[in-house]
């Protein structure tokens, strides 16, 4: 059974398609990365799964039920639009939101303490929300999205505004939740997080699903056509006929080979040039490369 399934979902505002005929299935217990440039339709898709927006056409099911006020109850949601009641104590907000989702207050209180400690907010739990920094508020909001242990967690840009330490904590929590059987959907621009975290991806551009599936399978389908090379000296060998494009760095370059070209030929040319090679790696394309190739822009 799928956690989420979208069938030919379309949503437009004033005649502009925000989401255009999107079909997508999210496997239970997986972490799905929803990728796409700004304005691609990620947030609209998420809002439709949350039953905040209603699709113009198509159907959406969550745990095999058509979306409704009831299906929302099983979802932990971190909206793109961040906000908490500014004049409430931090722990009181978390407990209030958890109680609204059906958790008994004493248990919510106990869990809130644990999570606040884990995110190093223990000393702030009696403070008012508006005394917290933006990043701290975001952590509080993340806690309130997952506290009631929902089987499905939807996080819209969970990493924005967080420092690297907290990004790592959030990532750990997601993996933990997956370990406990939860399904996680996150939208982000941060490719390196998606590569490390996600089991599958869905790439949306201009409202259309242009690529989706298992992350490893997608990368393998692109083959090992990327070469990372570090060297000292002249770089004339980079214009070898097997190379289709080059991204030059200070001490090296990333070169993309033409389809069917052998990495061996390029390495030979490099060694024969007067440059001193210090590193030569043949890689799968990065998600970033796939993203740029598919959408035509970063």
């Amino acid at each position: 059974m799928e956690a989420i399934s979208l069938e030919n979902v379309t949503k437009s505002y004033d005649g502009v398609h925000a989401v255009n005929d999107v079909t997508l299935r999210v496997r239970r217990g997986a972490i799905l990365g929803l990728l796409g440039p700004n304005g691609a339709g990620k947030t609209s898709t998420i809002r439709m799964i949350m039953n905040i927006l209603v699709p113009d056409a198509g159907s959406i099911r969550v745990f095999d039920q058509p979306v409704s006020d009831e299906t929302r109850q099983s979802i932990g949601y971190l909206p793109e639009e961040r906000g908490l009641y500014p004049r409430m104590q931090v722990r009181a907000v978390i407990v209030f939101l958890a109680a609204l989702r059906g958790m008994p207050e004493p248990e919510a209180n106990r869990l809130a303490r644990e999570w606040l400690d884990r995110f190093e907010l223990g000393d702030w739990s009696e403070k008012q929300v508006h005394d917290l920094s933006k990043g701290m508020q975001q952590k509080v909001q993340f806690i309130s999205a997952i506290l009631h242990k929902p089987p499905l967690i939807i996080l819209d840009e969970p990493f924005s505004g967080l420092d690297p330490v907290n990004v790592a904590t959030v990532k750990d929590v997601m993996l933990e939740m997956r370990g406990q059987g939860s399904t996680v959907v996150l939208s982000t621009h941060r490719m390196e997080q998606v590569e490390r975290l996600c089991d599958s991806i869905c790439l949306i551009d201009k409202g259309r699903n242009i690529l989706d599936g298992d992350l490893r399978a997608i990368k393998q389908s692109y083959g090992k056509n990327t070469i990372q090379i570090e060297f000292n000296g002249p770089d004339g060998f980079l214009s070898h006929p097997a190379v289709s494009s080059v991204n030059r760095f200070a001490n090296g370059a990333e070169a993309k080979l033409k389809p069917g070209a052998a990495a061996q030929e390029f390495l030979k040319a490099a060694v024969q040039s007067s440059a001193q090679i210090t590193r030569f790696d043949v890689l799968e394309p990065s998600l970033n490369d796939i993203f740029i190739e598919k959408t035509g822009h970063a």
Partner: protein
């Protein structure tokens, strides 16, 4: 229901804990205490100034009776008078110049000149012509003396004059099913007091209800909230939570002012044993009906404010539309006289059954003549049904308008949102 309760609790607790609530709750009883203390101070330190008066009596014979009634006034609240001099038939320029200089030097407060022809005006010469506290008893004393003089000139004995000149007291007795009661205006007072209470509590708390509904939009918590609560539950919880805050404040005010008033009454009785407060005897059933209409009215109009909040995305827009919420209440007050003239007419019946007008007009009808129970019951049912209807419609508007940040809806859009399900 559990969610509604959670929302009520949050609204109530976050509001009751604010400084603004504590200050505004304390300031009314404190102002009351200050007022009582001020009155007590004024009573005990009342200036004991007596008005020194001279009378120049050209008519003759009037001065002694004016002097008598001024100096033996039974009313302790009016200024005391001393008539220092009377001059009979001696209105010479000299006397008057003399008196004027006494007034100027402060030895005398005023002098009266009674003309020989009593159809002419009597003149009061004083430095302080605006002192009404002096004018009223003086006029009364002059009238009494003058009427007395005229009547005794027609051969009526002085001792009979009081008897003859006495007016009547009109006592109004209200006839109702439960028997007869002396009407001292207390039931009408309740009806008017209720409108004032309803209007002022909505003025204070209607906008708070509206802001409370806007809160999730302005703090951007709405997406999280409406992913866990239905808008109907949210709005109901907010209306009840704010109402709880309002009623807590009113209860504190009423209890503390009640205590102050009874203390004040006891103190007034101590200073002035003759004054007494009219005893209230209002039937319990009337109070229960009136309470139904007060709470119904409060909730209906808070629901209207909630509706304005639901339709707008920020406080500026809502501020421009808030007159819509209060409008029908003002409209209702303009029908007051129609019902007052004839509370049993068909027009009165129809008007008082309209939910938006009932909280104002039904208590008025109750105070004039108790309407049949079915009319009251129907009105209450319609009122509470309308409250649910208004909240339901607001919830729909809220639900659909949720993601329309920064755009005030047009009327056609609002109507379309109501149809949307």
């Amino acid at each position: 229901m559990r969610k509604v309760w959670l929302i009520i609790k949050r609204e109530y607790l976050t509001r009751v804990k604010t400084k603004a609530f504590v200050i505004s709750t304390l300031i009314v009883p404190l102002a009351g205490i200050m007022l009582v203390l001020l009155i007590a101070f004024l009573i005990s330190h009342r200036p004991q100034h007596t008005v020194r008066l001279a009378i120049v009596d050209d008519a003759g014979g009037l001065a002694p009776s004016v002097k008598h009634s001024l100096e033996h006034s039974p009313d302790s609240s009016t200024p005391q008078f001393i008539v220092t001099d009377t001059f009979d038939h001696s209105n010479t320029a000299e006397v008057e110049r003399d008196l004027r200089s006494h007034v100027n030097s402060g030895a005398l407060d005023a002098y009266l000149i009674v003309p020989a022809d009593l159809t002419q005006a009597i003149e009061l010469h004083t430095k302080n012509p605006g002192n009404f506290a002096v004018l009223a008893p003086l006029t009364a004393a002059l009238n009494q003396a003058l009427i007395g003089a005229r009547l005794s000139a027609r051969g009526i004995h002085v001792d009979d004059i009081d008897q003859i000149a006495r007016g009547v007291d009109l006592q109004v007795i209200k006839v109702s099913q439960s028997g007869e009661a002396v009407e001292k205006g207390q039931t009408m007072g309740i009806a008017i007091g209720l409108v004032i209470l309803l209007y002022s509590s909505l003025l204070a708390y209607g906008i708070i209800t509206m802001r409370s509904v806007l809160e999730e939009k302005t703090t951007r918590t709405m997406e999280v909230l409406i992913s866990s609560v239905r808008p109907f539950e949210l709005l109901t919880g907010k209306i009840l939570g704010v109402a709880g805050t309002a009623f807590t404040q009113f209860l504190i005010w009423i209890v503390s002012l009640g205590l102050l008033a009874s203390y004040g009454a006891a103190m007034a009785a101590m200073f002035n044993p003759s004054s007494s407060f009219p005893a209230m005897h209002v039937p319990l059933s009337l109070l229960i009906w009136v309470a139904c209409f007060f709470f119904g009215g409060y909730f209906l109009y808070s629901a209207m404010f909630a509706a304005v909040g639901a339709a707008c995305s920020n406080e500026q827009d809502a501020g421009q539309l808030q007159w819509l919420a209060m409008g029908p209440l003002v409209f209702a007050i303009s029908f007051y006289w129609l019902v007052m003239i004839d509370s049993t007419s068909t027009l009165s019946l129809v008007l008082s059954e309209i939910p938006f007008l009932a909280p104002v007009l039904m208590p008025l009808r109750l105070s004039i003549q108790a309407p049949p129970a079915w009319q009251l019951a129907l009105s209450v049912v319609l009122l509470f049904g309308t409250i649910v209807g208004v909240i339901w419609a607001s919830a729909k508007v809220y639900r659909v308008g949720v993601l329309m940040y920064g755009k005030r809806p047009t009327l056609p859009e609002l109507l379309r949102w109501l149809r949307y399900s």
